[in-house]
Amino acid sequence: EAGVVQSPRYKIIEKKQPVAFWCNPISGHNTLYWYRQNLGQGPELLIRYENEEAVDDSQLPKDRFSAERLKGVDSTLKIQPAELGDSAVYLCASSYSGGIDGNEQFFGPGTRLTVL
């Protein structure tokens, strides 16, 4: 069974440019997560989807970040415009259930973004 797929794996852009990341979760997983992980730190949740609905986007910087999950499967995370401080690894994860009673998240390999 394929795991969580993310693309691209690496991205280098100049500041003020837009960038987009794509995630394909494990088949049958209705919950999808986007995290940002800075060097030497734990992942920080940006947004969590239950099917098509964003149920927690409290940590998403909405002035420049946006996300969508059309049809409750694939998801795209966008930054526009990118800033130097956005350099990080962006992780996507999925789980069968995102309920508040615990679950096992499966993570993709991440996209390493470098903003110059």
Binding site: V4, Y33, G40, Q41, G42, P43, E44, L45, R48, V55, D56, S58, L91, A93, G98, G99, I100, D101, G102, E104, Q105, F106, F107, G108, P109, G110
Partner: protein
């Protein structure tokens, strides 16, 4: 607001038991605690999960004392391949399942 604290790093030798503790304040009785392992250039990988007392699986044990102010991941007889960063994750029930990762503990296993 819940916050988690872990030791930044730990050293061990092959064959030893390793215990990594995560401190977390304001954890309710039905808030889940999960531990993940992460290797360089990879996403975190699930190790174990629980919300009370003790849970054991084929690779680790998770201990949660009654006061729930901390939890301990126990790795029996570590090997060189267990060298990785270990994260605790707390899921807060009464905040809609809010997810809070710790800063991670870098475990180095030496021969």
């Amino acid at each position: 607001l819940a916050k988690t604290t872990q030791p930044i790093s730990m050293d061990s030798y092959e064959g030893q038991e390793v215990n990594i503790t995560c401190s977390h304040n304001n954890i309710a009785t039905n808030d889940y605690i999960t531990w993940y392992q992460q290797f360089p250039s990879q996403g975190p990988r699930f190790i174990i999960q629980g919300y009370k007392t003790k849970v054991t699986n084929e690779v680790a044990s998770l201990f949660i004392p009654a006061d729930r102010k901390s939890s301990t991941l126990s790795l029996p007889r570590v090997s060189l391949s267990d060298t990785a960063v270990y994260y605790c994750l707390v899921q807060i029930y009464n905040q809609g399942g809010k997810l809070i990762f710790g800063q991670g503990t870098e475990l180095s296993v030496k021969p």
